[in-house]
Symmetry: C2
Subunit: 371 residues, 2 copies
């Protein structure tokens, strides 16, 4: 008799499934909100991580000023779910998307980032035709070399260009250094974030010296949050992953000298063993279609002796660091995803649980809303 | 004036979008069906690649004997879409899934692979209770060390175990060598496939010598297809990717001496440039959430001078091999995905086109059906 088979994890949930621990989720929402507030920072969590209107509403109820969305489709899903203030953190280009943006801006408070004069003119024409004043935020490249103007001079020129459009208003500046967020070593992460915030402050100063107000300075993520709290450059922070966490963020030093992370890990993938045909190896039902592989590798929760490897689109391989494997087909295990954003994007719903029991199913409305 | 902006690709399609060229799709379906038939092989295409009932119906109309599904959710979606014969190519374990399998087997012809005596007993009890005779297929490990019994002795023992169950019938044997399918060098791929088919033939012989019929020997993929056609081990082939293709399969030698692939590439991702803030770099709206990164890197179609790199969850970076980049925000390009199965799994629909115009939208019903 195998006790794990007789008392499986979540016996009424078919696998693979995306689990969300409600107690840990609420704790993470409360902790970051409290820490942001105590540092005088507005908290605008990023919906790209959870893509779920229910989670967004919990963040708003806790005190968030609004949500971020990386894609217009995410912003629309948040608006449909009752969120009334969204910052779109990627430029919105082309007539189809700008038409959608105008319709969204007629429903809720929308801000959108810009880094290009042609795009400013395109947005201004559309806002004018829609008879709205659109809030735009200048994106500054603070070292990631992705989107964003790359100097204070260009930031000030773009501010002039925005100011010249009657249908646009300059709502602030955004600077985000995504590639540093998961840097595990605190001192190294801090060095990079300080350099990024210096670059952002230079652009803010250039815009202000050109005579324009910069009411909001927005940016930052989960990894930079403990640093952004003390640097004082940002007025608004955009962490996303803090709410679900993953094995990459779980491995970073939260503060100096390897200080312990105040955040728990609510997100996991429930998996089943489907084959143990080869001694010492167990095959589970989680492969690339049920766990993303672009970041860290998923890790087995509560079973540090088990090592997970991807074994194809629909399969994962478990081996044991002790050499002996006690698993049989039907056994269930929980994996902590390697990268929360792209793993959440594979699922239609969260199975929300507390005390070992399923409490609710929350739809992931913005799943796949990549346009 | 930029002629690409004035005449963009698919101006009525918002990006990112998953495009499917209908002419190329029909050609691929016809070519493989004809080549399988001329070699006396039954063709059972794998739905894990396209996850779309419309494509499956086209494959059936062309002469396929049924479809494969890697997951029960895929098989259910195929049945809902009118497919009446499905082989589930992964073991189905545990009471929840086996209950679903029984309900499916009451609707359509279902075969399911097994590699474990405990699983055989579990299936037999459920089939008996459901008053059906379930067709099972012994999965043989032919070198991938994932699922499957690893010797003729164990295959014959499993055949005995199946034969002892009144509610089960042995429908055949499966052997699949997934890790060899994309091996680009034909001779090396052929060597591996020959070894795999030798292992499979040994298990088939062992089962037959034990006194049991093996009516179907199923396996193979797109890369092994030209080899399986001539080896004569399989009676039924399971290629999936041939129907959509991707940059990995597009790069393999189809036959000896680098022989040209008869298959075209119907699948592409339509992307838009969203930022050109840094000279020599263009940022597009395709990142890890709109193109899978577990296999080959996506490549730019019709623009071999452009090099794609992932730049985060929602961003991709284009640079030029010539050094000068002629792109502006709003420009559109088509990417050939690096891995079709996991890219299709990110989208809810195919935008089907012919002659440069959108012809239809086909839902990807089994998208995300990973359980």
């Amino acid at each position: 008799v195998n006790s794990r088979i007789e008392n499986p994890l979540f016996p009424d949930v078919d696998t693979p499934a995306l689990l969300l621990d409600e107690t840990r989720l609420h704790a993470n929402i409360a902790i970051l909100q409290q820490q942001a507030a105590s540092s005088g920072l507005a908290l605008r969590p990023h919906a790209k991580a959870h893509k779920c209107a229910h989670v967004a509403r919990l963040q708003m109820e806790a005190g968030a000023v609004g949500l971020c969305a990386a894609k217009l489709g995410e912003a629309e899903a948040m608006a449909d779910g009752g969120i009334t203030d969204v910052l779109v953190t990627t430029p919105i280009v082309g007539p189809l998307k700008i038409g959608r943006l105008m319709r969204l801006a007629q429903r809720i408070t929308v801000r959108v980032v810009v880094d290009d004069e042609r795009n400013v003119h395109e947005l201004a024409r559309a806002a004018s035709a829609a008879q709205i004043v659109l809030r735009v935020v200048i994106e500054v490249d603070v070292g990631q070399h992705r989107c964003g103007v790359d100097s204070g001079l260009r930031a000030a020129a773009l501010a002039h260009c925005i100011h010249a459009q009657a249908s646009l208003t300059l709502a602030g500046v955004q600077g985000y250094q995504g590639s540093l967020q998961c840097q595990a070593d605190y001192a190294e992460r801090r060095r990079g974030i300080v350099a990024a915030m210096d670059a952002l402050a230079q652009s803010v100063n250039a815009i202000r010296e050109a005579g324009f107000a910069v009411p909001v300075i927005t940016g930052g993520g989960t990894g930079s949050f403990p640093i952004d709290r003390v640097l004082g450059c940002l007025t608004e922070v955009q962490p996303g992953s803090y709410v679900t966490m993953d094995s990459a963020y779980n491995a970073i030093d939260w503060c100096e000298a390897g200080g312990r992370m105040p955040l728990r890990a609510p997100l996991s993938i429930l998996a089943s063993v489907v084959s143990c045909a080869t001694p010492g190896r167990a095959i589970i039902d989680v492969g690339w279609k049920a766990a993303s592989s672009d970041g860290h590798v998923p890790v087995c929760r509560d079973r540090p002796d088990l090592i997970f490897e991807f074994a194809g689109d629909e399969h994962g391989l478990l081996t044991s660091s002790t050499g002996s494997l006690d698993l049989v087909p039907g056994d269930r295990i929980e994996l902590m995803p390697g990268h929360c954003d792209t793993t959440v994007n594979l699922y239609d719903r969260f199975v929300v649980h507390a005390g070992g029991r399923v409490q609710a199913i929350w739809p992931i409305e913005a799943r796949g809303k990549s346009n």
